[in-house]
Symmetry: C2
Subunit: 223 residues, 2 copies
DNA sequence: ACTCTGTCAAGAGCACTGCTCTCTTTTGTG
DNA sequence: CACAAAAGAGAGCAGTGCTCTTGACAGAGT
């Protein structure tokens, strides 16, 4: 069994990777809409039907690219986090790191934070990678003295916040959890608006505005 | 000229409308990805090539649907605004009205606030309709005594804010303008996260969270 | 009343797509 | 070496966006 995973399986793994790489390359050129299995196969010098030995469908290829993209942006966020130092600086670094990846890979970003593509069957495989950026932000707050924030939180939201407190291990009140969710929403809302061209008439180079937002949201959550 | 726009032009206008209506119906079923001109034609009992007398391309049809969608969500926002009464209540009403339309027309929402579809040529025709929701929010703040907010605003952002102040006619400082932009981002970020399934693991019925966000952002901009 | 011109629907056809099937070749193992 | 599993090759199906040509018809000018 250990010896059996030699040439054959390695070749398979490599070709699988090559297919994904080529697909990503085409994604950057023509977008998810125009991604064609036949074109990928053509570029790789193989016949189109051969691709189906590796990916059962175009949607499955896209799903794999989605999972990879979630992991990539999550890794970018984690890598941007210095890990120690002032929590506020860590927070800002994660925001910039996340946006940096998104701007470098706009089509992959659109794949995961744009409209759901197929008959949107986002399977369970995506939920863990999808949470990595949020978890990086949470991690900054876990062992940090937060400015105490009080505020009325309606019962339903309070319940949801308390569930999150348990699963994520945050030591913070419901209002802070709610604000953290808002900050998370703000982060990706700003990136999406920037990449999808919604800021053109108002804050066209959005860099300054994004940096400002990062700071204001840091304060907003009590940092 | 006035008499010449009788039967012929009227028939044309009606058919154009019917095509768009049918396209919208299919959009709700199969999404933008699956929208097919041939299917629209088939459903309307005409041959596919006839559609091209009315829309030069599939992308142009989608662009028209995009403009319609921007106008529809803008109208929903304006209609939700009671027009008088407490500014804070107006603000909350607009938020709810906007989300309400989005939840009622998820695929049309995805069309305008999801990933840019073709070789994303969002023409100039979309920018005015696209601003209607934001303008409805601005309108609430124009003749309102805002809580004064100060804060450091970096020069570049300050310039952008001052430009907006002039074009929109807001009487508020740069920090307030920046916060208004953040609130605008938050509004659509929250709707997108909700519709695109990003909230599933955390705030699954997002109603309470959305209402809470609306209130907090009202305070955030000084309302 | 009668052409004449521009508009329209219809149909065939091109190049492309995702996907499935069958057949052949290659590869690793008993 | 022989055999079975895995991979590639190619044809083919149904569907797509879009273009071109053909024939019918309505509206206007003489």
């Amino acid at each position: 069994m250990t010896t059996s995973r030699t040439a054959r399986e390695r070749a398979r793994a490599e070709l699988t990777q090559e297919i994904k790489d080529e697909a990503r390359r085409q994604l950057a050129e023509v977008g998810a809409h125009g991604l064609s299995l036949r074109a990928v196969a053509r570029e790789l010098g193989m016949v189109s039907s051969a691709i189906y030995r590796y990916f059962p469908s175009r949607d499955r290829l896209l799903t794999d690219l989605i999972i990879d993209a979630y992991n990539a942006i999550g890794a970018a966020a984690e890598q941007a986090d210095p890990g120690d130092g002032a929590p506020r600086e860590r927070w800002l670094a994660i925001w910039q790191g996340t946006r940096g990846w998104a701007r470098a890979h706009p089509h992959e970003y659109a794949l995961i934070y744009g409209s759901p593509i197929p008959g949107y069957a986002a399977p369970q495989d995506t939920v863990v990678p999808a949470a990595r950026v949020a978890l990086a932000l949470v991690k900054v707050l876990t062992h940090t003295e937060l400015r105490d924030i009080d505020g009325e939180v309606p019962p339903e939201l309070r319940t949801q916040a308390e569930t999150l407190t348990k699963t994520l291990g945050i030591i913070a009140g419901p209002e802070t959890v709610a604000r953290l969710l808002m900050a998370w929403t703000q982060l990706f809302g700003a990136i999406s608006f920037d990449l999808f061209g919604q800021y053109v008439g108002s804050v066209d180079p959005a860099d300054a505005f994004f940096a400002h937002s990062a700071k204001r949201m840091a304060e907003f959550v009590g940092l």
